[in-house]
């Protein structure tokens, strides 16, 4: 008899405050597991955002800093420049990264900061209660787009992986999801790979996780994961958008 799955020690025992079925818990675990498997928990420093994951610093069992809204890539830049030998991550939601922090993520990526950004895209502002996000799908309802996002009125969503992959600075960009166990496995692989690339000092690494928000989508957690598969992923296709390590291997 062997335990084949238990909670990683890279997470604390603080109870997660997230709503039932919120995938933040899944992604927190994947980040923590990846660092543990790489034996980098002792060297990890994570910059956490403003948004639902503002308390991620309490859940990760390694060094952490709570950042101003959208500024985690700048703050992480400051940390990484002081400690180039440490593993520096940002963990950000879509409002944080793709709206108020657009400049910071683009320029951290363009500078090729040797950090890893984990980007949670669930197409909604969770913490503030369901307002339209930069990634809200056309037609998707939000408390500030009550009839559904109309690109003519509310503008268009931003596909961040595609946008960042146009830059020379990033070395690895992948979009994953966590709506099925197989996707969870792939998401972990991507996060681990990004961290390994950071450890080698090759450049900026970015993993977008297409995620859900059952509470603000008004769906059960299970239905929300279906929505991820049926609506979100077709708009935000999964896959590797940039990988210089693969190019090197050719």
């Amino acid at each position: 008899m062997a335990v084949i799955f238990q909670k990683t020690k890279a997470l604390t025992d603080v109870k997660l405050h997230y709503c039932p079925g919120c995938a933040h818990g899944i992604v927190h675990r994947l980040v923590a597991e990846a660092l543990e498997e790489l034996d980098e928990v002792k060297n990890a420093i994570v910059a956490v955002p403003v948004g639902c994951s503002v308390f991620a610093n309490k859940y990760f069992n390694f060094d952490a800093i709570q950042c101003a809204h959208g500024r985690a890539p700048a703050t992480a830049t400051g940390i990484k420049r002081v400690h180039p030998d440490k593993m520096v991550l940002t963990y950000q939601g879509d409002g944080d990264l793709a709206s108020i922090g657009t400049a910071e993520i683009i320029h951290a990526a363009a500078r090729g900061e040797k950090i890893t950004t984990i980007f949670i895209n669930n197409g909604i502002y969770g913490m503030t209660g369901g307002q339209m996000a930069p990634t809200t799908l056309p037609g998707m309802k939000a408390t500030t787009a009550k009839n559904g996002r109309d690109p003519k009125i509310n503008g268009n969503p931003i596909r961040v992986c595609e946008m960042l992959s146009a830059l020379d600075g990033p070395v690895y960009i992948e979009r994953v999801s966590v709506s099925t166990p197989a996707q969870v496995t792939q998401a972990k692989r991507a996060i681990k790979k990004a961290l390994e690339i950071q450890r080698k000092g090759l450049g900026f690494t970015f993993v977008e996780v297409v995620s859900s928000c059952p509470t603000n989508w008004g769906l059960t957690p299970v239905k929300a994961m279906e929505f991820v598969r049926e609506k979100m992923i077709p708009y935000y296709p999964l896959g590797v958008y940039k990988d210089i390590t693969a190019e090197e291997g050719k």
Binding site: F5, Y18, P181
Partner: protein
């Protein structure tokens, strides 16, 4: 096929049912009788058909699931 055992930490479970939805052997259900301290009906094991695939644990957002492989 491997035999496994799932243990739910009922105090952490928020009853989201993601584990229930992905279990290929329908091992898990939300309790209809218990309500935990968080106010949720926790998931519980309802049969011995677990194959130790860990799908439930992978989907659990609250790290409430431990999986063992039985020889």
């Amino acid at each position: 096929m491997a035999k496994g055992r799932v243990t739910i930490n009922e105090m952490l479970c928020k009853g989201c049912e993601l584990c229930v939805s992905v279990c290929p052997k329908h091992v898990l259900q939300l309790s209809t009788t218990k309500i935990n301290a968080l106010g949720y009906n926790p998931a519980e094991v309802v049969n011995d058909d677990c194959i130790a695939c860990t799908s439930c644990a992978k989907m659990c957002p609250d790290c409430a699931i431990t999986v063992e492989k039985l020889d």
